[in-house]
């Protein structure tokens, strides 16, 4: 059976429902228990593991967000996105044509990336709106979105104003998100909540709901620049919000954990959490992405081990 990810309608958002936001609960201890025990409850082995790891690759937003990024560096990254695993391994696995989900860069690197990925179907995502702190003048943040879209970015990863969450100003968060969504036009918008800076899981749950009501296509954990980035408890909180939103509206919102996921094993745990809590439909690139830079390297080594039976070395795989 093949699940063909038919194109889903975008999330148009809803009027802000403050009662719903007020009702949101997140019991940290219970959520942590679920997160801590999940790796012991779910296990994928052998061919299934290889298939799941290939799936993980197809869901990666291969990312570089460094101050020293150059066009050459970004072209290298794009080359890796096109050919994430060596052709001979992919052929053995029967997974020819596998690519990452997207490439994610700063605005200035968008044209380079778009050029490097031309004809591959791999979208370019741009972090935007004064990433990572989101504290530049609001009109500039909106303008930045427009410029990235004009430069060819198909996905815009915006950062929310954490202060709106921390002060409980849900209306302000909603308005900001609405305006950013509008600025994106046809480009899909991922709302980065910077969960490591929101204080509590309950805030994460509420912020997730507000951003979805304001029309986010994806909600995303982190910029990768906070001291705490994606975690399983945060993931559980956010995907449960997505599930509730779906149950209430029938709409699909995607999820992107970012930062700190660097091991193949971690990726498998994330995928089982998504599978069990949200369902298989969310295991497609239009609804799930890993924001990661070093994860791919570990997956490549695991895949080589799967094929050869020998533990692999990182230098055997092309760098990005």
């Amino acid at each position: 059976m093949t699940i063909s990810p038919t194109a889903l309608p975008r999330n148009p958002g809803l009027p802000l429902d403050l009662d719903w936001v007020a009702r949101a609960q997140a019991n940290r201890s219970a959520i942590e228990r679920r997160a801590t025990t999940l790796p012991g409850r779910r296990s994928v082995k052998k061919d299934h593991q290889a298939a799941w790891l290939c799936k993980a690759i197809s869901l990666i937003d291969l990312t570089t967000l460094a101050g020293d990024d150059t066009p050459a560096r970004v072209r290298r990254l794009c080359a890796k996105a096109r050919q994430p695993v060596s052709p001979d391994l992919l052929e053995t696995l029967g997974m020819q044509g596998l690519t990452t989900g997207a490439v994610c860069v700063y605005h200035d690197m968008v044209p380079t990336a778009v050029e490097a990925l031309k004809g591959t179907g791999i979208p370019v995502a741009a972090v935007s709106t004064g990433f990572p702190a989101g504290l530049s003048p609001f009109h500039l943040r909106i303008a930045e979105i427009g410029e990235s879209v004009a430069a060819g970015a198909e996905e815009i990863d915006i950062v929310i104003s954490r202060r709106h969450v921390l002060t409980g100003n849900w209306q302000a968060l909603y308005d900001e998100m609405r305006e950013m969504r509008a600025a994106c036009g046809e480009a899909h918008v991922k709302a980065i909540l910077a969960t490591g800076e929101l204080g509590t899981l309950r805030n994460v749950a509420k912020a997730s709901l507000v951003c979805m009501m304001a029309g986010a296509d994806f909600i995303k954990t982190s910029t990768g620049k906070e001291s705490v980035n994606a975690t399983l408890p945060v993931t559980l909180t956010m995907i449960r919000a997505i599930r509730d939103y779906h149950a209430a509206t029938g709409l699909y919102v995607g999820y992107k954990p970012a930062g700190g996921i660097s091991k193949a094993k971690d990726a498998l745990v994330y995928l089982s959490m998504i599978k069990d809590e949200l369902g298989d439909r969310w295991l497609q690139p239009d609804l799930f992405r890993f924001g990661a830079s070093s994860l791919l390297g570990d997956i490549e080594r695991q895949l080589e081990h799967h094929v050869t039976g020998s533990y692999s070395a990182s230098w055997r795989h092309a760098m990005s």
Binding site: S29, A30, I31, G40, R41, V44, A51, C54, G94, M95
Partner: protein, 766 residues
């Protein structure tokens, strides 16, 4: 399937844990004998132990004979004095057992899943680590016993009979505290699941357990009965309520200590402000943990009306995600039912049900039962009351916190309960009101060696874990013997004043006895001192009703109870001469010292009333486990004859100090000092019904008292131990039959009899 196909479907696929090592060990060991005196006996009459997931025989074990049990008890008896002598050695041996459990963790886990059908995830991540933790923790108690428990001594030889749902973990819960406190044991694992106990017996040798300290015998219920009947000092049993009752009857009057961990029908209460997703997920661990074959399972779901629909919808969606199948698969949530008999039992209960709405997921062919939800039940539905002991959740709804508590407590059982709410006021208000030995706030099935575990009502008595659990494996180091009962004085004298016929004291009022009979009370020289009423079972019934009406006493503050006890002391002291002379008339002995001692006991109990504190336990979660001291409830007390005033006061005072209500049956020989005491109570602000006093024949009152289904405990200190203990089996009330010497101030020990430990787990996190 090709990788490309799996890439599309994203199925889990098989993830089997290897059984190679465990099967090799079983093959190597061959048929099992019994582990007695540090050696394996030759295999005797053998029976199969079967893997419920496959139906394959795993091994053959020996059905123990009565000679085997005698030999095991003798080995334990011989080894006990030496074992009790050296606490440091005990600590090191328990530590070694913990280490060995850790070293052989995988083997234990695989063996456990093979033999019981529970998922490898559970045996690997829960059962085996908790068993290790129990031995580590109890190594510490062994080390600390001389300094921290100087007035306690081991009981001697403990007979232990454990169930099939947590074979290794229950073994650990039984053996670790017994050994730590200097006892030796004869343990019988369940007939269906003996294998981890066999492996444990093997590591006992490696750990340096001296021969005879741990004896492990196998067999069916008959072997259990043999252990119960053997010359042991204690029986510790975990299993069904029906068997628990039989053990209570069989041990009645034998002087054997007894602890029973029995069934349950745990309420799982979800308030509308709960984190609903987490509460739904909690149910997975509450009722589908070990296929619901868990005495403390959250098996009765109570959901607040406003969220009931959405909660049940989410629950059904979650159930659909549960994976049922091969217990050795690392990706399985619910394994096999332990035995086809148990499967048939669960199936029959569900099929007999005609109420509510049933929702079931799929289960494989074989010894499996699908996760099941039966919703829209009423408290009157049989399945809301009966323990199913399978993966079957029943549910109903409630309107208010008060109603939730009422429905939750509408049960014969009282083992464990869960409360889900994000409102700390609500959760912490409801938790102590639940009639259960364990309450989890926003959680379920949390267990730890440091946290007392055990039930009330028909879930049994005794605690396992923590300092509190050690009481079940020790006795007072100084043994006091109960003074003998005294035969009432006969006489022919006649009174010389106005006739005085004392009444009964019920609900704060003097009441004529229902039967309308009384008995003449004579002094030692035969003089007629007055008449005392003869209470019958209806008077007892009235006293229990009066105690029910006084239920507010349990919620009063320790400070208030202390004030009232001091006031009783003050009023008794003011009339010391009168009481002393009454004692002289009754017993022929000067009563001055006895009255003074009674006043002193009242002071002791008053002193403790607000100081017998619970503990906060160091459990390995972010949160606290509070071991609270809750009153037992309503206690019937048959007072001794020796020191008739002091005996009565010494028993009454600690009981009411802890918030219990009591019905005292005064000394049969010397009732009039108790009837004089009515006025002291009347003038001391004791709320009506908190203390009730009957006079009459203990032999007539002991049995109705022990059989009364609405009395929580009976203290029988005037003999009749066998009668009381046997009759108590019906509702499994707590009984205490001494020894008790009124001349010795044992107030602190009495406080333990007067309280139940209630463990409330409060995990937290912003």
């Amino acid at each position: 399937m090709t990788i490309k196909e799996i890439f599309e479907t994203m199925d889990y696929g098989p993830a089997p844990e290897s059984d190679k090592e465990a099967m090799a060990w079983l093959a190597d060991r061959g048929d099992f004998g019994l582990f007695i005196g540090g050696n394996w006996t030759e295999p005797g009459t053998l029976f199969d132990t079967v893997n419920p997931a496959t139906g394959d025989t795993l091994a053959r074990v020996t059905q123990a004979t009565s000679d085997d049990i005698a030999a095991a008890v003798k080995a334990a008896r011989d080894a006990q004095p030496g074992w009790a002598r050296d606490h440091g050695r005990r600590a090191r041996v328990l530590y070694a057992l913990a280490r060995l459990l850790q070293k052989h963790a995988r083997m234990f886990a695989v063996l456990e899943s093979l033999d019981s059908g529970k998922p490898i995830r559970e045996s690997r991540d829960i059962d085996v680590p908790l068993a290790q933790r129990h031995f580590y923790h109890h190594a510490g108690y062994a080390q600390l016993m001389p300094t921290e428990m100087p007035d306690r001594a081991p009981l001697g030889v403990c007979g232990q009979v454990i169930p099939w749902n947590f074979p290794l973990l229950m073994l650990a819960w039984k053996i670790a505290p017994a050994l730590a406190m200097g006892n030796t044991v004869v343990l019988k694992p369940a007939e269906w699941t003996p294998l981890t106990a066999m492996l444990f017996a093997q590591i006992c040798g490696e750990a340096g357990v001296p021969p005879g300290v741990v004896n492990i015998v196998t067999g069916d219920g008959e072997v259990g009965e043999m252990i119960v009947g053997a010359k042991v000092d204690k029986i510790a049993f975990t299993g069904s309520t029906a068997v628990g009752r039989r053990i209570r009857e069989a041990t009645a009057g034998t002087g054997k200590a007894l602890s029973l961990e029995l069934g349950g029908k745990g309420p799982y209460i979800v308030f509308e402000d709960a984190d609903i997703d987490s509460a739904v997920e909690g149910l997975v661990d509450a009722i589908w943990f070990n296929g619901g074959q868990v005495c403390c399972a959250g098996s009765r779901l109570l959901v607040q009306d406003g969220i009931a629909e959405v909660f049940h919808a989410k629950l059904r969606a979650r159930m659909a995600q549960l994976r049922i199948g091969d217990p050795l698969d690392k990706c399985i949530d619910v394994g096999a039912i332990v035995h086809p008999e148990q499967l048939a039992h669960v199936r029959a209960l569900v099929e007999a049900n005609t109420d509510g709405t049933i929702f079931q997921t799929e289960a494989p062919e074989g010894c499996y039962y699908p996760p099941t939800l039966i919703s829209d039940l009423d408290p009157a539905s049989p399945l809301m009351q009966q323990e199913i002991f399978g993966p079957v959740l029943v549910s109903t709804t409630f309107r208010t916190p008060e109603e939730a508590v009422e429905i939750a407590n509408n049960s014969r059982y009282g083992l464990a309960a869960s409360v889900w709410s994000e409102d700390v006021n609500l959760a912490l208000d409801v938790a102590p009101k639940l009639e259960a030995g364990i309450v989890w706030v926003n959680g379920t099935n949390m267990m730890d060696a440091a946290a007392p575990f055990g039930g009330i009502r028909e879930s049994g008595f005794g605690r396992e874990g923590g300092w509190e659990g050690l009481g079940g494996y020790t006795r007072a180091a100084t043994r006091h013997s109960s003074p003998a009962a005294i035969t009432p004085q006969e006489g022919t004298g006649t009174g010389d004043g106005i006739d005085r016929t004392s009444k009964l004291y019920i609900g704060g009022k003097q009441a004529r006895p229902d039967g309308g009979y009384s008995r003449a009370v004579h002094g030692p020289e035969g003089a007629l001192l007055g008449h005392a009423s003869l209470a019958n079972r209806k008077d007892l019934r009235n006293a229990v009703e009066a105690m029910n009406a006084a239920r507010g006493w349990g919620g009063s503050s320790g400070h208030l109870r202390a004030q009232i006890l001091y006031f009783i002391a003050e009023n008794l002291s003011a009339r010391a001469h009168e009481f002393a002379s009454r004692l002289k008339d009754l017993t022929g002995k000067d009563g001055t010292e006895e009255v003074a001692a009674a006043v002193d006991r009242l002071f002791s109990a008053a002193a403790w009333a607000d100081k017998y504190d619970g503990q906060v336990k160091g459990v390995p979660v972010r949160g606290v486990a509070l071991a609270m001291k809750a009153p037992v409830g309503k206690i019937g007390i048959l007072c001794p004859d020796a020191a008739p005033l002091l005996g009565l006061v010494s028993l009454m005072a600690p009981a009411i100090a802890m918030g219990n209500r009591v019905t005292l049956v005064a000394s049969e020989a010397y009732p009039l000092v108790a009837t004089d005491f009515f006025q002291v109570l009347d003038t001391s602000d004791v709320p009506g019904g908190v203390v009730n006093i009957l006079t009459g024949a203990h032999a007539d009152l002991a049995e109705p008292m022990a059989r009364h289904l609405d009395l929580d405990a009976v203290w029988g200190l005037s003999g009749h131990a066998q009668l009381i203990e046997a009759a108590s089996a019906q509702n499994l009330k707590r009984t205490w039959v001494g020894p008790f010497d009124p001349q010795v101030d044992t107030t602190k020990d009495l406080l333990a009899h007067a309280t139940e430990v209630k463990t409330i787990w409060v995990p937290y996190g912003a």
